[in-house]
Symmetry: C2
Subunit: 651 residues, 2 copies
């Protein structure tokens, strides 16, 4: 069926291509026909009512390239209806954010003519993704041509094709012009300025924009701490004379920081219309499997997997595995300390340059090992969480995040805790902290941005050359773009980025009172992080589908937990400081009791503070209340009118 499409741009220019759909190159023709028909079919008939066309990529170096690549687009009318389906919030004429409805389209700001420019491209792509995801099987028993790909009424077709590898991938296309404009205002300007969060959100969606917002906020919040840290470091206050003050500052800072972020994030999310948007019903994730049963919520047939079985897997396999890994991590830590001692003993025997350098070797090796262990553990955690067979993507993510967080936390901080509280050696603590921080930052930047960029550039050049060779000088922007982007790496979400920030937050809030330069290093790292992350989003990865998000989700909890641990750690560090000890020369017991009491009071204060500071700024809360009030009033009015009519009929 795809043979009648010639390789030319004119065929696919009948609509703006937004999303690319790549099927396996050996997909059976009847399955393709069926899928395309379902995508094109009217909504009343259960179709997605989208436009779809084939992109026939040229033969490459004698090898036939994958012929089953399609681009999907839509009419603007269909997109507007879709915007209503997904529950998009838009700014209305009176300045409040309201759920978009096609019937009231004229009451929204920026709605002009037939609404062609009303939705951003990312929104359009998100809508198309939603419509594809919710394209459901009707009465087909299996995918045509694939008797083993069972279907049941209500099953998402795309999820099923995806879970069996027939659908290789689907991704939104970049928009070169917008991208150029965005990347200029984002990271190519020489003038330092805030990030263009609204533009980022328009291009990449709310989830990513919130990440960059958080990154920026975190970096700015660290500046005062960095400014205080520099004189501490420069004037070499090695006698820990002032670090009690610094610890107290740390403690207040880490609490206020997170509470204020919640308010900032609510303000951003309100402006982007995600704060009060209702969550849609979540589909089972593609990998979810089980015997066919009845879902008690939807009353549709779907795979069912008993939650007690999942609990068993979690508590009998995953939890012991995580504990084993933690034990391993401790073991590695002890080996590191042995190495450290060995290096010191060599240095004390032969204090020369070589043995002086050797002193740093164990720390560097340990930092590298930590990174490797984190990486390996990450794969294991993904495998295990997958095997736990969670029904929802969100619950899969939560379990994955939890596993990875606990391990990363222990792996990265165990040695520091050991040095601080068991060995009580503040000089070593400072040295280890510096080595860990610097090594992991360098590794991160290399692994995260430069390596993928370098690989990507090589690939780009190859594709570009090949296309040139095949097509001569004919302009083939779309074909080349599809070809290029299909081979780009997929951005796996903000997980790793947040994880990195989480660990940096840990270094700063837990121990920066012994190494005040930590905040400075983190600020520097984050400034380069903004640029490298921005760069990688624009040039290294496929464009990700925009992800509506009202907050940073489970990460808020993770950061808050860290800040509670920070209170405990800082109090303990204060208790260990020589000049506090000097106040209680006779009774160590009294010192400990006072430190513990202070810690409890601070923790209580922290919880009260978190309770007292409202999570949503007042002016946003008023708008939310107004929205709710208006809808209640409208409902009431309608009822009274209906009541009056009923009354008339009865009289």
């Amino acid at each position: 069926m795809h043979l009648d499409l010639s390789v030319s741009d004119s065929d696919v220019s009948s609509f703006t291509p937004l999303v690319v759909l790549e099927l396996a190159d050996d997909t059976k023709a009847e399955a393709i026909t069926w899928l395309l028909n379902r995508i094109r079919d009217k909504q009343q008939n259960g179709g997605a009512e989208l436009l779809v066309d084939q992109v026939l990529l040229p033969v490459q170096d004698g090898q036939k390239s994958n012929p089953n690549v399609f681009v999907v687009g839509s009419t603007s009318q269909r997109l507007l209806n879709g915007a209503e389906d997904v529950g998009l919030f838009k700014e209305s004429q009176d300045g409040t954010m309201r759920g978009f409805t096609y019937a009231n389209r004229e009451s929204f700001r920026d709605f002009e003519g037939d609404g062609q420019a009303f939705l951003s491209e990312a929104e359009c792509q998100y809508i198309i993704k939603h419509e594809l995801d919710t394209l459901r099987a009707k009465h087909e028993e299996h995918v045509p041509g694939y008797p083993k790909l069972k279907l049941y009424p209500g099953k998402s077709v795309v999820r099923r094709l995806q879970s069996k590898g027939v659908l290789v991938q689907y991704f939104p296309l970049h928009n070169k012009e917008d991208l150029k404009r965005l990347s200029f205002s984002w990271y190519k300007k020489i003038k330092l300025s805030f990030q263009p969060l609204d533009d980022i959100r328009r291009y990449f969606g709310e989830g990513l924009a919130l990440y960059f917002g958080f990154l920026e906020y975190f970096t700015f919040a660290l500046v005062p701490m960095a400014l205080i840290g520099i004189p501490y470091y420069l004037f070499d206050w090695e006698d820990y004379d002032k670090y009690v003050l610094f610890a107290v500052f740390n403690l207040v800072w880490s609490t206020v920081f997170l509470e204020v972020w919640k308010r900032c994030s609510a303000t951003l999310a309100y402006g982007w219309g995600t704060l009060n948007r209702k969550k849609a019903f979540e589909e089972p994730r593609p990998g979810f499997h089980g015997a066919l049963g009845i879902n008690p919520v939807t009353e549709r047939e779907e795979p069912v997997y008993s939650s007690s079985k999942r609990q068993l897997r979690i508590y009998l396999v995953s939890v012991p595995f995580v504990l084993l890994c933690l034990y391993l991590s401790f073991y590695v830590m002890m080996v590191y300390f042995d190495m450290e001692n060995w290096a010191i003993s060599i240095y004390t025997e032969n204090p020369n340059v070589a043995s002086g350098i050797l002193m740093f070797v164990p720390s560097i090796i340990y930092a590298v090992v930590i990174e490797i262990m984190n990486l390996l553990y990450r794969y294991a955690a993904e495998f295990l969480t997958n095997w736990e067979n969670h029904r929802l993507e969100s619950s899969f993510q939560n379990h994955l995040v939890l596993k990875v967080l606990v391990f990363n936390f222990v792996n990265c901080f165990a040695s520091l805790f050991y040095i601080a509280f068991v060995m009580q050696d503040m000089v070593l603590l400072r040295q280890s902290l510096a080595t860990l921080l610097i090594t992991s930052q360098i590794l991160n930047q290399v692994m995260e941005a430069f390596l993928p960029y370098w690989l990507q550039r090589r690939r780009n050049k190859k594709v570009h050359k090949r296309m040139r060779r095949l097509m001569g000088d004919k302009e083939l922007p779309l074909l080349e773009q599809v070809q290029l982007e299909a081979e780009m790496n997929t951005y796996l979400g903000t997980f790793d980025d947040y994880l990195e920030q989480f660990l940096l937050f840990g270094y700063v809030s837990l121990f920066s009172c012994v190494y005040p330069l930590a905040a400075v290093l983190v600020v520097l790292n984050n400034i380069s992080e903004v640029y490298s992350d921005a760069f990688k989003m624009c040039h290294v990865f496929k464009r990700p589908f925009s992800e509506p998000a009202a907050n940073i989700g489970v990460w808020q909890l993770a950061f808050e937990t860290m800040s509670v641990i920070a209170v405990v750690t800082n109090c303990a560090l204060i208790g260990l400081s020589p000049q506090v000890k000097a106040y209680f020369p006779e009774s160590e017991t009294q010192l400990i009791l006072i430190v513990v009491a202070t810690e409890h009071v601070l923790l209580a204060f922290k919880f009260i503070l978190a309770f007292v500071i409202p999570d949503v700024p007042k002016h946003i809360q008023v708008k939310l209340d107004k929205l709710e009030f208006d809808s209640l009033e409208a409902l009431k009015k309608r009822k009274i009118l209906e009541g009056a009519e009923t009354g008339k009929y009865m009289e």
Copy 2:
């Protein structure tokens, strides 16, 4: 206008009277006419569309009784519409709880004929209250006859009349038959059984039913602890040998107890239809005042009081006042200890019976003083919170609860903490705990139930006699009932009842490891509490308006806070116990560090447990999800149909 109503039952029997409205006896006739018209007026015209009639009470002992007493009722059609207004949830034919709508009335279980028996009496009274409360001024500038009682469009008429004392009170009438049936199944049966929570809810509403449910749950939860406590006490394990075990039990118990209650409460609230019911927009409370301005949410004119002024009042007056009271409470405590020492010194000088009894006198006096201080403080807190001028009843209540809780906690427990941790005298702790517990229980039962009951009975007899004298043998059930109930005390809500349970929970969870009989005493107290509370609800107080509630609200938080404090206290008590100390004969420091570490682990475990246990049982969650899914699907279907129609038009 009320002169043409003769004192006879026939006039008011045209409808079932549900609510009594009592205006001041010098209310101007034009105001009464206006109010009655507004109540009777159709909804389209902004009226409440209710039935209202005058009850003319007979002349009493030469004094004219208040002529301005009215009974309010309604047609069942109006009540069903009202049920939709207030967003009542009812069980539908398929067993799920759904928001009642008049249009779908046939799809609800128990809806028969014209739906006369569909709503419970308490629900009808609640609906009438809601309709009266939301009866709003139209274009009147003031209440007719009262130029000073300013009105503005949208102001609740009833609230305004209430705030200026023109409306003395309004309350629902008891239903003698239902009450007899309820009180029989509740507390008059000899057979021990669970309380009839559903019947209580049907008669008194969800708020009260949840209180009694909590009381029952709490009492049952205490039984295992009481059972363990008895042998501890009987076999005189005075050497504190076993109390480490008891403290650990205590700790786990207090965490699990509260988590499980959340699930129980969710189950109850779901069955009663309050779990997923939307909250209506809250009116300003009657006492709220301020300059007339525009409410940004409703965009209606209403009194506005700047929240920064309120904050100033809270932080500059209320907080210092509370702190002063706390200081006073400490001062009284120190005086108590002086008295205690004095009593002991007398006993050691002259050990005879009189001085032996004298030993107990300071504790008893202190217990009485504590109760008196609590009472006085309560008035002060109410005055202050009123003066803070909160706009909403809910925020008023929260601030009041917070003030009272903090003071009561310190007032009741300060001496125990002092004895336990400063004096470290476990014998005295045990003795004080017993005295405090027993004295406060006796005082409570007397103040709460027997005294009001006795007063009430005297009043009842007087009214009964008077009525007899006036009317001879004529039967005047309604008149007498209105007269009797109007003079009954008003039930001020569950505040004091929860507060008492909160303090009892404190005694048990904080210190019961030193006085294991505490749990036994609390169980006994609570059994009698159920009876006396049930009795007072049925016979001492006016029937309260039913209060829809999905949970025990701020009290859940209060109990949880207490259980966190309990972890700290129990760990400290364990640390102080001689046999734990015996393990660390040399190093007290090590002991303290281990206790502190244990405490931190336990607290972390507690938070994880609270996080892991879902707040809503799975079968309820499924039903909630189903409801949401159904409404989403219905919306989608409607849109597709509409879309199809639009499509047709466009074609």
